[in-house]
């Protein structure tokens, strides 16, 4: 049971979030937590639930459901929601966590970063300064690694050099990047930092940058080395999205993980045309950790299950 100040902090954050979005006429929505299918991302594991004799999945984020609402004409929307990810437990991870997700119509990721700044400043009730660095620049600055030229072997060597006791030959190019980012590069970040323009291989559901096909219009917000938010210029191409789902399932199969049916409702919606928009998910538990200056996510959970 967290101290009363933590409960009050959470209540205040939620209240301010609602006030912020009310002022910019963004609609609050509440989508189902149980779905007939789920996220195919190879690095995100879903929790299955047995419901009325069939298997449903607790949603790993409200993204697909919210995009269906956008297609149906909802206009800009936001949601405060619980999300579920199996096998994620640690000082910064909890299998059930809270997030704020929102979509701003007509925005791209750059405009969305400014909106994130506005919201965060509002929540902290002060003028904050935000640093910005591109993903490639951060690797160049803190590891002297040029990601446009670096081979998989060079990335593995860089891991061996910086991370103690690891067999880097087991790691793919993206595995190396994930490890170096979370353990070395992000540790150099001070205060609020936007990391933007991710490598195309880490595009997830982001649009590829026009004229720079090796980059994805994706950003993350860090506070020191803590990842707080992840946002994109949203991919609106149904064909490309279907291809990414199929690739995900292929990777899952190779990794010996369960594969999931493709979310046809979501793809059908995309085919009808997702309006140009940018969306972002912000981890609320971690945000409250930063506000409360505590080191463990377990210190801010309301009635911690784990």
């Amino acid at each position: 049971m967290p101290a009363l100040p933590v409960l009050k902090q959470r209540a205040l954050v939620y209240k301010k979030i609602r006030a912020f979005f009310d002022e910019i006429s963004t609609l609050e929505v509440d989508t189902p937590l149980l779905g007939i299918t789920t996220n195919t991302d190879v690095h995100i594991q879903s929790i299955a639930a047995r419901v009325c004799s069939s298997t449903l999945y607790l949603q790993t984020s409200p993204e697909f459901a919210m995009k269906r609402l956008l297609v149906s004409g909802s206009g800009s929307i936001y949601q405060i929601s619980h999300a579920f990810r199996d096998e994620e437990k640690g000082l910064l991870h909890h299998p059930e966590f809270s997030l704020l997700e929102w979509y701003s119509l007509g925005f791209d990721y750059q405009a969305l970063m400014s909106q994130v700044e506005d919201l965060i400043s509002r929540l902290f009730e002060q003028e904050l300064s935000f640093h910005k660095i591109s993903y490639f620049e951060s690797f160049h600055r803190y590891l002297k690694l040029d990601l446009q030229l670096a081979s998989q072997t060079e990335c593995q060597d860089c891991v061996t050099q910086h991370i103690p006791g690891i067999d880097s030959s087991l790691l793919s190019w993206d595995d190396c990047l994930d490890l170096l980012m979370s353990q070395i590069v992000s540790r150099e970040f001070k205060g609020f930092t936007f990391l933007y323009d991710y490598p195309e291989s880490q595009a997830s559901l982001a649009r590829i940058k026009v004229g720079e096909p090796h980059l994805a219009e994706r950003f993350e917000l860090f506070y020191n080395d803590i990842e707080l938010a992840n946002g994109f210029s949203e991919l609106t191409d149904a064909k490309q999205q279907r291809l990414r789902f199929l690739q995900d399932n292929c990777k899952r199969q190779q990794a010996g993980l369960q594969t999931y049916p493709i979310d046809e409702d979501f793809l059908k919606a995309l085919e009808q045309g997702l309006p140009e928009c940018a969306g972002v998910a912000l981890g609320l538990d971690r945000l409250i950790m930063v506000m409360q200056q505590v080191n463990s996510i377990h210190d801010v959970m309301t009635l911690d299950t784990f």
């Binding site: 690095h43 640690g90 910064l92 103690p164 690891i166 087991l170 490890l179 980012m181 353990q183």
Partner: protein
């Protein structure tokens, strides 16, 4: 022996690493939101006591180590082996000097210690965190200096040398933290 996957790693788990039995001290889950998960582990080699940092990709696994901790009574030192006994079964285990390591300075006959057995043989001895031992050698106490700080070395009956307050005399019992070797208090007999 069973094998353990990274998501079963927890402190205290005994696993084999590079052919040696090890104990996990700390396991940190590391994962970018949309990226590969890793376990960063601090792990102690139970044979030499050394602590290593290791990083595993999630899903990797390590073989379990046949290691158990058993409470045993210390009997005697025959010059080559320290002999321990399980009081309930009278089963005796000789531990070599390597296994006892630096714990030898805390050994006192009849007292209980934690003996770590690997494949049935002792590889490490852990004294209780706090022990009470008699002073067998120290400089004479300074009367009237009880309030003032200041310490002097004192040899205890087990052989350990610890710093104690000046007023303590030979024959008095002290309570000591075996992890730091620090004097805690005088024990009134």
């Amino acid at each position: 022996m069973a094998s353990y996957s990274t998501n079963e790693f927890r402190s205290g788990l005994k696993v084999m690493l590079d052919g040696d039995p090890c104990s996990i001290i700390e396991n940190e889950f590391v994962k970018p939101g949309k990226g590969q998960a890793f376990s960063r582990v601090k792990i102690r080699n139970l044979k030499n006591g050394r602590v290593l940092d290791k990083t595993f990709k999630s899903g990797e696994s390590l073989e379990g180590a046949d290691v158990v901790d058993v409470d045993m009574q210390y009997l005697y030192d025959d010059g080559e082996f320290y002999h321990f006994m399980v009081p309930e079964t009278f089963e005796q285990y000789p531990a070599d000097r390597n296994a006892v390591g630096e714990s030898n300075i805390w050994l006192k006959a009849q007292d209980m210690y934690e003996v770590t057995l690997y494949n049935g043989a002792p590889i490490a001895i852990t004294p209780p965190n706090f022990v009470e031992l008699e002073i067998t050698e120290t400089d004479p106490g300074l009367k009237g200096d009880t309030a003032q700080g200041g310490t002097k070395p004192a040899t205890l009956e087990s052989g350990a040398v610890v710093k104690v307050p000046l007023f303590l005399e030979i024959g008095e019992k002290v309570r000591v933290d075996t992890r730091s070797g620090a004097y805690m208090s005088r024990v009134k007999s």
